[in-house]
Symmetry: C2
Subunit: 376 residues, 2 copies
Amino acid sequence: MKRGFARGEYAARLARAQAAMDRAGLGAILLTTEPEIRYFTGYLTRFWESPSRPWFLVVPLSGAPVAVIPSIGAALMAQTWISDIRTWPAPHPEDDGVSLLTETLREIGGPVGVPSGPESHVRMPLADFDRVKRDSGLEWRGDAGIVAALRAVKSEAEIDKVAHICGLAGRAFDRVHEIAAPGVPLSQVFRDFQRLLLEEGADWVPYLAGGAGPEGYSDVISPASELPLAAGDVLMLDTGAVWDGYFCDYDRNFAIGHATEAQNRAHHRLIEATEAGFDAARAGARASDVWRAMADIVGGGEQAGRLGHGLGMQLTEGLSLTAGDQTVLEPGMVITLEPGVDLAPGRIMVHEENIVITDGAPRRLSPFAGRDIAVI
Amino acid sequence: MKRGFARGEYAARLARAQAAMDRAGLGAILLTTEPEIRYFTGYLTRFWESPSRPWFLVVPLSGAPVAVIPSIGAALMAQTWISDIRTWPAPHPEDDGVSLLTETLREIGGPVGVPSGPESHVRMPLADFDRVKRDSGLEWRGDAGIVAALRAVKSEAEIDKVAHICGLAGRAFDRVHEIAAPGVPLSQVFRDFQRLLLEEGADWVPYLAGGAGPEGYSDVISPASELPLAAGDVLMLDTGAVWDGYFCDYDRNFAIGHATEAQNRAHHRLIEATEAGFDAARAGARASDVWRAMADIVGGGEQAGRLGHGLGMQLTEGLSLTAGDQTVLEPGMVITLEPGVDLAPGRIMVHEENIVITDGAPRRLSPFAGRDIAVI
């Protein structure tokens, strides 16, 4: 499978952004985070793990984006379609891109929109952000949700990447019997499962969570304990692995040794809820409709929480399958279906699959699990 | 090796923070990012990979920190030493913790300090941050660098964790001959090296960069290409692997098949510079002194850039070994020594090791490489 995107993909993203900027009356959008900058440039590096340097991309109302970045990134940025690359020798605490960014913004003109809505943050020191705002002399606003709205609807090329990593992860899940058995510490299972994902072709594994216990687990975000698996446990592994910058995000439950009646009943209900969510996930429906289809089966009412979310360049992004999210589904939206049930007070089982909304029935991106819980 | 920290570690961190807050006239510090919140709580999860929910910790001038977090994190936070845990059902875009945080801050009182200096950012939507500031009715400032200064000096228990992951990575580097050979694509080497790190005991591998070529590589931040290794190449692998939330960050260079004269000369110079940096890295010296000791050997003058940096809960954190960084070294500071040389226009070789500053000679945390470049 080919890495990267055709040049036309970026031109289309930019054109859509600029049309929306025109409607919103913005002269520029300032981006500071990894997925936002990558969305418009294709700039892909794990170096964002280092907090030491801010990175900026200015999307103008017309013309090509301007990268204002640390010089350490110049060679890699020059391999993207971006040609206007302005650098400074970061880190330089006295002026860490502040004057170069200010000058660039003044040249391009405002009003400057900054993503300010749900899930956003400004990845630069607050003191420097305040300096840029003040020194620019421009008007500053939110970005009117433009960048988030664009990213929510994926192109075919983006969907292919999510499908690819979902397929790789599916092969790793099929091999969990190689690494999980009574007596193996959960921490060892976590290390080995990441190894399996890499062996199957994942570029890296930014996210792995899970849990184990006879009555499920206490949450879906904990790191591994050193406790050994025991016969009768349910083991859950939930991964966000990445291929070419795109995530899968789904899980599998496994019964260790044998499945109890309660575990199997819970799993059946999870699969039933997932199928109900799948059937409800039609273009024109609302996120809350898909939530309700699943919540009606797993129970919990309005307290059932988030039963899925958008997915793509980040592990979670965009809409939430909650009672309150009124986002209208559109073809090209990639989402997870993630129902959960209680097995005991404070102990849960959660199932998750990945799909993409189309003009008709959604398309499965992850290889949907069978009705019975897998026994290892 | 034991995971986590003794309760006294957190009590000591808090006491130091509160003493500094008293001097700075702060009533509270508001923290929003993973390492900052983990530093005071021990809250360790890979769930930060999801941008969907903000997380808050309020460190008061007296008394214990208060966690204001999404309910999905309550079970895990309850396993830390923090007892005042206030939750809301996030994501809830209309009020994503804003009113709960505001109420908490009003109860604790200001002035509220927010980390605003180099490397910091505020991890919450800008619009929500503005609401909290306004609704709190409190005075807001920077945190006077308090949190960064505390984190810069590591405890023995923290240093042990960095030493542990450095040791694990060293064993993985010793096995690179198993995975690298002429004809193997660099992307495969990257996947396999992550696997080796996991096999040797790393919890996960947040960072891997590298490059290959007969005259070195163009930068140290690029993802892997699909190009196969060739005899005569230098292969560099630079990893930030993690054990119990602490990073190593060092690299190794390997000559594929045979080492050229130029490669060996460059490697000798890098090792010589590293040793000079090591000798200069004494308590009381400045970061710029260590930089100069290395820059004098690798050349490049003031343009030589950053030749190392702090390290700990993040891949890079704190001081920079640059011409301009006047930070005075203290015992307990963990740093990297990272000199680089040019092999050809636009092609470099970079070497990196990890050390900790002590009262006497620094202590090596990574197993220092030999003078000759390793041949595979």
